[in-house]
């Protein structure tokens, strides 16, 4: 009986870890979406494309400039974030007075352009990106299972990033300005805070988070132009489930749903691709504002 159970755990563990890794990406991506939506009232459909750009920039840095993983982890979010600044200033900033749906349509168009350009340049098949030497080698023995070092790193790094983002928004003066501007931008502007610049930087930060997730994902998934669009729709469902009102809420929802997905892969593999969407439907019926959302 006990042996049966231990065997089950051993079989299930890799799937659950894979679920946690996916959850780490859901958390990072939905966090970025929530930060951007809170400030800009725009759902950033290009988030998946920017995630993919993060991975590609890491690949380019390594193969064209010889900059290793750890450098890319810092440089890639900065580069993609700068690209986000250009997008926000040139295009997205023109839409703030219009219906929110136009922001969605614009960023959807941008996602198509970015994905198309990368497909033209690099082809549709994936490019390999090796994890750094310090994170390869013997997997960590957790007693009941072996955990590849890199996956452990991804989960820890994503978790730390999420907590750091939460601390910045909830506990610092900059975060206080940000929250205030989300509530009432004209009033904050009247106090002498440069709100338009803050909006631009918020977008850049959200895009940077997506790119960071992209760099983390590069050694796990093959670097390919479709890697973002595969993720982003699931992340939308995650965002609907969590509700975009709370930063911590989107982190918890992200990790939690990753776990649920992993568990589903153990119990009933056929449903693993759809389980998050089913949960979304159930949450909408029971609590339309989302688990952590304000009505």
């Amino acid at each position: 009986m006990l042996e049966d159970f231990l065997f089950q755990v051993e079989m299930a563990a890799p799937q659950i870890v894979l679920g946690l890794v996916n959850g780490a990406f859901y958390a990072l991506l939905s966090l970025g979406l929530a930060v951007i939506f809170g400030m800009l009232n725009v759902i950033n459909f290009a988030h998946g494309a920017q995630f993919m750009m993060g991975a590609f920039v890491a690949w380019m840095l390594l193969n064209w400039l010889g900059i290793p993983y750890w450098g890319a982890l810092i440089l890639s979010p900065l580069i993609v974030g700068a690209f986000g600044v250009v997008l926000e200033r040139l295009m997205i900033s023109r839409l703030y007075k219009l219906d929110h749906l136009y922001g969605l349509l614009l960023t959807f168009g941008l996602a198509l352009i970015i994905e198309g350009v990368f497909r033209n340049t690099f082809g549709s098949s994936g490019l390999p990106y090796a994890p750094p030497a310090s994170l390869t080698g013997a997997p960590v023995d957790l007693g009941f299972m072996l955990l590849p070092k890199y996956r452990l790193w991804v989960v820890v790094a994503a978790f730390v990033t999420c907590i750091a983002t939460w601390l910045v928004i909830e506990k610092t003066r900059l975060g206080a300005y940000l929250r205030a501007a989300t509530e009432n931008a004209p009033l904050v502007q009247a106090f002498g805070v440069n709100v338009p610049r803050m909006i631009t930087l918020t977008y850049a930060a959200g895009v940077g988070l997506a790119a960071l997730a992209g760099v983390l994902a590069a050694p796990i998934y093959s670097v390919n132009p479709a890697m973002g669009s595969n993720f982003i729709i699931t992340v939308f469902a995650v965002v609907v489930i969590g509700g975009m009102g709370s930063i911590l809420g989107s982190v918890i929802t992200g990790f939690g749903l990753g776990l649920v997905e992993g568990l589903t892969r153990v119990v009933y593999p056929e449903a693993s691709a759809t389980v998050i969407f089913v949960i979304m439907a159930i949450v909408l019926l029971a609590r339309p504002a989302g688990l952590f959302g304000r009505a």
Binding site: G109, L112, I113, F277, M280
Partner: protein, 330 residues
């Protein structure tokens, strides 16, 4: 919450009192005559297979426009209804040997049924959430279609026969099929026109313009939205079924998210909330895709560029801008 605090989506001003024949204004009557003349004349000059596909997508876009243009709901998952309509019609024709008119109707019924469930879930939220929810639900349908055996996975359902219309007229020759497709399109188009200009349609427009006021006037707004959603999804299913019979194949492409994006693009480019906009938009997008098809990802890039250009520069779309220039309603 969003719809109450922001300006309604940028469409033409509210409808003036109706006049003219069958609810068509004079300008619309002329445009309709031109469209019908084009449908009759074009197959003698252009490859009919292309025109049939175009008409199917035009009907799809008109169905989508019923929601975005007249209720103000952006459904980002209309591929689900189109694709399921396509699959089920294909299956009904190939495995059950049913005549085309029945297959297309079954496709429409499946689209409407799916729309009833998804609409019921999605109308709990408005604005941006509505778009995300419909997209996510549609993706669920996509994953469903990837897994179940009846869709034949990556291969799709191939070699779909067209059979004989009403058991009398064999539709296998393209020119005969063309008149069938043209008939389905025109019926759908006129039905949408009728819906928009009925008292029911007027309430829909009122919801688009000012939802809280429509509620305060005593309209059960959610019921109206749901009925509009079901009608739109059903017509999308009809369009998908007709498309499957036309091109003899139903695949995962019909049900995946780029298809949802494509119908948004057609409608946006043609003009949200205009009667003829989706038709013009479908024509432009399909022509562009046909010419760009050999250049791979350039199709995607140019679609993206049109999206960006439409949102930033001409939100009224082609037909909307023409209507504004001529000061008429189209």
């Amino acid at each position: 919450m969003a719809s109450a605090t922001t300006a309604p989506i940028d469409t033409l001003p509210p409808a003036a009192p109706q006049s003219g024949l069958f609810g068509f204004t004079r300008a619309q009557g002329i445009a309709l005559a031109v469209m019908v003349a084009a449908i009759v004349a074009l197959p003698f000059f252009v490859y009919p297979q292309f025109l049939m596909k175009l008409l199917c997508f035009a009907l799809f876009a008109c169905a989508f426009n019923l929601l975005i243009g007249y209720v103000g709901l952006l459904s980002f998952g209309h591929a689900a209804y189109f694709g399921m309509g396509s699959y089920v019609s294909a299956y009904a024709s190939k495995s059950w040997g049913l005549p085309p008119e029945v297959c297309v109707l079954i496709g429409g019924a499946v689209g409407a049924g799916l729309g009833l469930v998804f609409g019921w879930i999605a109308i709990r939220r408005a604005g941006i959430y509505f778009a995300m929810i419909t997209l996510a639900l549609a993706q669920m349908v996509y994953f469903f279609c990837v897994q179940v055996p009846f869709t034949r996975g990556e291969d799709g359902i191939q070699g779909i026969p067209r059979h004989a219309l009403l058991g009398l007229v064999d539709l296998e020759p393209d020119m005969r099929m063309y008149w069938f497709v043209a008939g389905v399109f025109l019926l759908g188009f006129l039905l949408i026109h009728r819906i928009i200009h009925s008292p029911f349609g007027q309430v829909l427009t009122a919801i688009r313009e000012n939802e809280p006021r429509a509620i305060s006037l005593g309209y059960r707004v959610d019921d109206y939205k749901l009925i509009a959603f079901v009608l739109s999804a059903g017509l999308a299913g009809v369009a998908g079924g007709t498309k499957a019979l036309t091109v003899h194949i139903a695949t995962l492409i019909d049900v995946n998210w780029p298809m949802s994006g494509e119908v948004v693009l057609m409608t946006l480019l043609g003009g949200l909330g205009t009667l003829f906009g989706p038709v013009v938009g479908a024509g432009v997008v399909m022509t562009m895709e046909t010419y760009l098809a050999p250049f791979g990802a350039w199709v995607t890039i140019s679609q993206g560029i049109i999206f960006v250009a439409c949102v930033l520069a001409f939100r009224a779309g082609i037909v909307g801008e023409v209507a504004r220039l001529l000061r008429v309603k189209l």
